[in-house]
């Protein structure tokens, strides 16, 4: 009997017992070695993957949860969480749109999301007329023609173990901070993208087209590798509000750009932010990091963060290759009792590296919004430059907007420039818009979209239109 079989044997005797029924597989509550082995087994992972997880778990035991962040949250009991549960069966899902929350439907309508789409987002069985699976298959064919690998992480571990083994954990090592290490130990699924040498990916890759995308769970792991001279644009999330019963989301995203490669990663996050009194809502504690490994490589992050009760993330770039470029464009909107502590890290290691940070924060209601960023120019990073601009917009005097940039310059050839402003929507601007026939909400939407223009421009076309609407909707009820 090989070790894995032994493990399975052992697990069978586990006192809480595991059911083998595929429909209802659920690991027992709590975090321990057995649960990790269970996850690994269920996914039929090779030994090295299990070792990777266990190594992370060993490390996790030594780590403490960080608490320097601005938004504080009640203590999470990590032993009271389920770390693995199979997708819900059709029985539990709503049968038709009528069963959904009318508020949610209203938002869909405003965003202009088609009916079928609405159904798909909520996991309602879709009739044969609109078959998203077949759409996805068509796209898959196109990608395979170019040699692009785009599949789920589990599939990649089975089919492309050499690539996964080579790159997984190289940007976010298992020894990283608490949440990243937690993810390394228990991650369930995510996306895997590999763009071969010299290939420009012909379309925007989106989790949207990947089958099973909605069931990746709370510990998502994404790995994107752009080989020499390739280009890829990746979209994550969507503008439609997402409901999820898991409160904690700790995803890891790793990007690797080799020589002359470019990765563009766009996120629109609109998870459930809790109700008007700040009850419920998702904790979005995500680790995103990109490595510009090769010369002339480029990584660009664009994010629109409107959802979640607490957003706590810093998509970062490590500019290791000479002449590499890192970019970060962000809009973060907080309303009601939402809290966000977000920003970026730009670590300049290679010569002639450049980075640009544009961050727009908007807070309304009782919310709190923090930009926290690090620009670190190493002594070897000759002739590097950084430009940072972070603007905040406040609506009302119950909310807060904070800017905490860390600037470290160890190289005399390099330039860093940082600017930040805080302002509010002026009465004159509102008045002007209202005179022209807009109601106050439309007027605010218009002004805020103008404020965010620099970032919205960076989003892929279709996305940008939806994001604009989303910006307006997120601020509903915050004026007047």
């Amino acid at each position: 009997m090989d070790t894995r079989e032994k493990d399975i044997e052992k697990l069978k005797d586990y006192k809480y017992g595991f059911t083998t029924d595929i429909e209802n597989i659920k690991a027992p509550k709590g975090l321990n070695e057995d649960v990790i082995k269970f996850i690994s087994n269920i996914k039929k992972e090779p030994q090295w993957m299990l070792d990777f997880r266990l190594k992370a778990y060993e490390r996790l035991k030594l780590l403490k949860e960080p608490n320097w962040q601005k938004p504080k949250y009640p203590k999470i009991d990590y032993q009271d969480l389920y770390y693995y549960s199979a997708p819900k069966s059709m029985k539990d899902k709503p049968k038709s749109l009528d069963e959904l929350d009318p508020k949610l439907l209203e938002t869909y309508k405003k965003l202009g999301i088609p009916l079928q789409e609405q159904a798909r987002l909520n996991g309602i069985a879709v009739d044969a007329v609109f078959d998203s699976v077949s759409v996805a298959t068509t796209f898959k064919g196109e990608l395979t023609k170019h040699g692009i690998i785009f599949c789920s992480m589990s599939e990649a571990i089975q089919k492309h173990p050499d690539l996964v083994k080579k790159y997984l954990g190289t940007v976010i090592p298992v020894t990283d901070h608490f949440f990243a290490t937690l993810n390394s130990a228990v991650f369930t699924d995510g996306s895997f993208v590999y763009i071969p040498k010299g290939v420009k990916c012909p379309m925007e890759l989106s989790t949207y087209f990947r089958i099973n995308a909605s069931q990746t769970g709370q510990f998502e792991r994404t790995l994107i590798i752009a080989d020499e001279g390739s280009y890829v644009s990746y979209l994550e999330g969507c503008t439609a509000p997402m409901r999820d019963e898991n409160q904690l989301h700790a995803a890891n995203v790793e990007l690797i750009a080799l020589d002359d490669a470019e990765i563009k990663y766009s996120t629109v996050q609109n998870w459930y932010p809790g109700d008007e009194n700040g009850k419920g809502g998702i904790y979005n504690f995500v680790t995103k990091r990109g490595l510009c490994k090769g010369k002339n490589s480029k990584i660009s992050w664009t994010q629109v963060e409107t959802g979640s009760a607490i957003t706590w993330k810093y998509p970062s770039c490590i500019l290791k290759g000479d002449n590499s470029i890192g970019e970060f464009y962000s809009i973060a909107i907080t309303n009601n009792h939402q809290k966000a502590d977000t920003g970026t890290k730009m670590i300049h290691l290679g010569k002639n590296t450049k980075s640009k940070i544009i961050s727009k924060g908007i807070s309304a209601g009782f919310s709190d919004m923090t930009y926290r960023g690090l620009v670190d120019i190493n002594s070897k990073a000759k002739n590097s430059s950084n430009y940072t601009q972070c603007d905040s917009l406040l609506m009302g005097n119950k909310c807060g907007a904070h800017t905490v940039p860390y600037i470290k310059n160890k190289n005399f050839d390099s330039n860093i420039a940082h600017e930040a402003t805080t302002s509010k929507i002026s009465e004159e601007q509102l008045h002007y818009c209202q005179q022209r026939g807009l109601n106050s909400e439309e007027a605010v939407g218009l002004i805020v979209n103008g404020f965010c223009k620099e970032v919205l421009q960076q989003l892929p076309m279709e996305f940008a239109v939806e994001a604009q609407k989303l910006v307006g909707i997120s601020l509903e009820g915050s004026v007047g």
Binding site: W68, S379, S392, L394, M395, G396, N397, K398, C399, G400, A401, H402, T403, V404, P405, Y406, I407, K408, N409, K410, N411, F412, D413, S414, N415, I416, A417, H418, E419, A420, T421, T422, S423, K424
Partner: protein
């Protein structure tokens, strides 16, 4: 270190004539300091320059007791020429002389206030250390409607009697309504490897004006820490200028609470650092009521192996509408081994405010050097001209013309 602390503390207590209650108070400060020790980089405020490491590396073991029973000889050569002024002279942390000869004595009150430690909400173990070991705390009160005719210079001087010592000193100032004080802290050291810890408390009443200039110009191997706590009432103005250039290590902290409407605070600083110097300015401006204003400008010129850090924080309370806050830090790095760190922070809870900050760092502009050289200057002269111009910008912010000229002379900037 803790045994040494306790021993030295007992010695200090023996020399002091204070009540049992005051002794208990001092003991509680010592206890707090022993619990926390010197601050280190794990604390957010000490992230960039770790004082505990620097003391270990530059001094080694510190001792905390200073024998203040005998007076020190005052060396008149340290006095500032060409400017009539009042004097307070500290030598090795001992007050040798308080001299307000130019003033109307009835308008100034000087009281011994040892034991009356002014409490303010601040987590800082160096303040605990200071409160535990200071042997004399004077309070200087400027009475209503009185403006000092001449500036007051506080000389911070050390002589070769001390080595590897920690020196703590503290002064309290109260400026009554409509009064004005110009205060210069002038550092001149003849020693090395001591750690000087200075704590000032300022209480500014309505319409009063405080101008504080801290001039640390002469190269020495001491480590210094200075903390200014400024409480400001309606329409009061505080101006702080820091020339940070002499010591091996110098951290200036300014904590300014704008408690009254229409009060304003200005902080300007110059770092001019060379071989192995590590300096920091950390400012916190708390805008607590409506219509307050703050302005900060910090510039650094960093030579070989030097490091400067600026941590500026503007806090705007939700009540403090119509706040105007501005912060700018700029640095020129002259060598590949120099390092500049900044953390300009905004924390804002009110919506009708104008707050901005900026930070820029880089090397001298080669094009400008080329331009000057084409006009006949040599390379060295061109560089100096550019650096002086860069720093002059901050010096020009000094509102008092007499003192501005003094500072210009000290730095060696010519008009």
């Amino acid at each position: 270190m803790n045994e040494q602390l306790q021993l030295d503390f007992d010695k200090v207590i023996k020399t002091l004539k204070i009540s049992e209650k005051e002794i208990q108070l001092k003991k509680s400060f010592l206890k707090k300091f022993i619990e926390n020790g010197f601050p280190n980089r794990k604390q957010e405020d000490w992230k960039f320059l770790d004082i505990s490491q620097i003391i270990k590396k530059n001094i080694g073991e510190l001792s905390f007791f200073n024998d203040y029973s005998l007076p020190n000889k005052i060396d008149p050569s340290i006095f500032v020429d060409g400017l009539e002024h009042n004097k307070i002279i500290f030598i090795n942390g001992r007050i040798e002389k308080i001299d307000f000869n130019y003033e109307d004595q009835s308008q100034i009150e000087i009281n011994d206030e040892i034991g009356k430690n002014i409490k303010f909400d601040y987590e800082n173990s160096l303040i605990d250390l200071n409160n535990a070991f200071t042997n004399k705390v004077y309070k200087i009160l400027i009475k209503k409607n009185y403006s000092l005719k001449k500036p007051l210079i506080i000389y911070h001087s050390t002589n070769n009697k001390i080595k590897s010592k920690n020196v703590n000193l503290s002064l309290n100032f109260e400026l009554e309504e409509n009064s004005c004080l110009r205060l210069i802290d002038y550092f001149s050291d003849n020693t090395d490897k001591n750690f000087v810890n200075i704590l000032y408390n300022f209480n500014l009443k309505k319409y009063s004006i405080l101008k504080n200039y801290k001039l640390d110009k002469f190269r020495n191997n001491n480590l210094k820490y200075s903390f200014n706590n400024i409480e400001q009432d309606d329409n009061s103005i505080s101006e702080t200028f820091i020339l940070s250039a002499g010591s091996d290590y110098f951290k200036n902290e300014v904590n300014c609470n704008l408690n009254g409407e229409y009060s304003s605070a200005f902080i300007n600083g110059v770092f001019s650092l060379k071989e192995n110097q590590q300096h920091e300015i950390r400012s916190t401006i708390n805008h607590l009521v409506e219509n307050t204003k703050s302005y900060q400008l910090i510039k650094s010129v960093l030579g070989k192996n030097s490091k400067s850090a600026y941590q500026g924080r503007i806090f705007v309370d939700s009540k403090a509408q119509k706040t105007d806050g501005y912060q700018l830090s700029k640095a020129i790095l002259l060598d590949e081994t120099s390092e500049f760190n900044a953390k300009p922070e905004l924390e804002i809870y009110a919506d009708d405010v104008k707050c901005s900050h900026g930070s820029a760092s880089g090397s001298l502009n080669e094009n400008s050097i080329f331009y000057l050289m084409s006009r006949g200057l040599n390379y060295q002269q061109s560089r100096e001209l550019l650096i002086n111009g860069f720093l002059l910008d901050v010096v020009e912010k000094i509102t008092d013309s007499e003192i501005r000229n003094l500072v210009k002379n000290i730095i060696g900037l010519k008009e």
